[in-house]
Symmetry: C3
Subunit: 108 residues, 3 copies
């Protein structure tokens, strides 16, 4: 048994948890802030059999990786100027994941 401790962006955490649940993995969400990533992250705990660690990591990688997103601002940058919406590229996501050995696991 391993304990996966994953620190994700808030906006990715719910997607990651849903995808984990769909595959039968249980995740517990802890409130967290700042630090490893930009503000607004979430720490999740996932207990998993050793042979499923790779599967869990692949779900996290797919839902939470650092990526570029194109965003079109909805308001003018300077009020009074004629506004031409101009798409900007922003970096979102990113995950830091620690896999820990579990000495003993109990469920009761």
């Amino acid at each position: 048994m391993k304990l996966v401790v994953a620190i994700l962006q808030d906006k990715d955490a719910q997607h990651a948890i849903s995808e984990l649940n769909r595959r039968g993995f249980r995740a517990t969400k802890l409130a967290s802030t700042g630090g490893f990533l930009r503000e607004g992250n979430t720490t999740i705990l996932i207990g998993v059999d050793e042979k499923e660690v790779e599967h869990v990591l692949s779900v996290l990688r797919r839902t939470s990786s650092l990526r570029k997103e194109t965003l079109t601002p909805q308001t003018p940058a300077h009020s009074g100027e004629p506004y031409v919406p101009f798409p900007v590229e922003v970096t979102v996501g990113g995950a830091t994941v620690f896999v820990l050995d579990v000495d003993r696991y109990e469920k009761f």
Copy 2:
């Protein structure tokens, strides 16, 4: 030294922590939600000497196990119908516990 990471139902967490404290174990409560158990759980951390792990687990087992409780609803299921209180059995509690090795422990 071991670090016990226990995920309990909110309603059991305070009882568990009181019983742990009464026996001299210190528990730190983290806010958490969803996942391993039904919504509304709490994660607690307990640092403990290896020889006391069994004692901590027995306290958690006693305060937090999955169990049936009988509950008598206080309001009619369908408004307008004559109301005969009827006890229903519900499942409450449950805990998921990970015991981790501690490489180094410091208190200052």
Copy 3:
């Protein structure tokens, strides 16, 4: 790689995190309450290379140790009595730190 789990007083946590960040260590802050220390503590997670564990511990020791502070109460102890401010010594701070081995570390 090691995962440092530190439980600090709320009032020390922000200072500790700033000092860690200034040295290039990333810390994730989890909300927590009660237990290892008096009410109002914060749990922080710090992922760190084995050779930097001592450095992280020294930052935590310096920012968060149990210490005496002298405090001058601003209001009379008994209303109606002539008030002579009298400094009192209080104990603040304190940290409990667990260093855990990390089986696998991923960042994506």
